[in-house]
Symmetry: C2
Subunit: 224 residues, 2 copies
């Protein structure tokens, strides 16, 4: 008689996230995962962060997650850094990046040189938050066009990230957006959250967020 | 020997969507399903549509889908129409409304009087598009703050809906948004799509969209 041990998806994912971390340690690299709704500004933020990280002495690579198309990867191509594009429709139209596809993406970057990987997760505020990609740290973007109550309605992603990046703050005035209410809602869901107010258009806040990443990177690199 | 027939989830959902349609026919009601990213303006649009449908002689009810919280349902409470709130976290934190939960929601409305049901689906541009809720017609909202390329990146929801509702068009100018590019992208994915340009703030386009719904409702009611 054959006894089959069916491992849970959760357990399998935990092992794969561990493999991702092991892979990153071997490459002496750190990985940051950026999550948000579609259109919150993930691609543009990454486009702006890459040169700021380069100025601080790092060699970034990008993992670009989309259900379909290479639009975002092509937008980032001019940065001349290694990019691995994941189209999740090839994995069943999935609405998130799991550690399995991240491991595959890291393997496509095996001949490239980098020390920090920025993941642009699939545009979705729900599913990606439930998957450990093996990243060292996770960030959520929320644009001021999305409404002050988003942290209350989508608490999981705010609980499982270390900082909220409030994007498109140049639109606060034309929108009559209450940024204080958004901040209070973020902190009511996760009192430890760091909050950055950013505008990729005016570049407000970008240097200070890059400084924050620099600090975090130094801590992680020291622990490698 | 017992033979178990394991039905696929897909098949089960097809049957449940059929049950929803049957239930609606018995109640001589029509159902419209609104899908979009978080923050595209679904709640506000529904808030504006209810009185416009009432002016046209209909009795709307609302099914309000959220992962968690009653925030949106409470925002709509002042309309004094029947509302059924679905918190999908009670069904495993699901990122969409399936026909099973819609059937449950319709049952909570069994003692209410209505002839048109508006579904506010969970804020998500990916998963809801893959589930037949049993609605007569499906609509996708895309706000001008989300970027011109959204139909190319999330084609499924544009293929499985009959009209695109471009929301927040009052922000076209401050954003420098290219609405022509968005329209072209919608039509490249679904050449039959109707496109409405709406602003819940200035009320632009709302009467003409309500007229469109009125026409559709007359067609469906005639076929009941």
């Amino acid at each position: 008689m054959e006894i089959r041990v069916v491992r849970s998806v959760r357990e399998k994912n935990r092992e794969l996230a561990h493999d991702v971390r092991q892979h990153l340690r071997e490459r002496r690299s750190v990985m940051f995962n950026f999550m948000s709704s579609p259109g919150s500004g993930k691609t543009t933020l990454i486009e702006k962060l890459v040169p700021l990280l380069q100025q601080r002495g790092y060699n970034p690579a990008i993992i670009e997650g989309d259900v379909t198309t290479a639009i975002d990867a092509e937008r980032l191509n001019h940065l001349n850094v290694p990019i691995s594009l994941i189209n999740t429709e090839k994995f069943g139209g999935s609405c998130h990046l799991g550690p399995n596809v991240i491991l595959g993406a890291l393997e496509t970057l095996s001949s490239d040189s980098f020390d920090v990987v920025l993941i642009e997760n699939v545009g979705n505020l729900i599913c990606p938050a439930s998957y450990d990609t093996g990243s060292n740290e996770n960030f959520v973007l929320v644009s001021v066009t999305e409404g002050e109550e988003k942290p209350l309605k989508y608490p999981v992603v705010f609980k499982r990230t270390t900082a909220s990046l409030i994007t498109k703050v140049d639109l606060v005035e034309p929108l009559g957006f209450d940024i204080g209410a958004l901040r209070r809602n973020v902190l009511s869901v996760n009192p430890d959250h760091r909050i950055f107010e950013l505008s990729s258009r005016t570049e407000a806040g970008l240097q200070s967020f890059a400084d924050f990443l620099d600090e975090r990177l130094k801590t992680y690199v020291a622990a490698l």
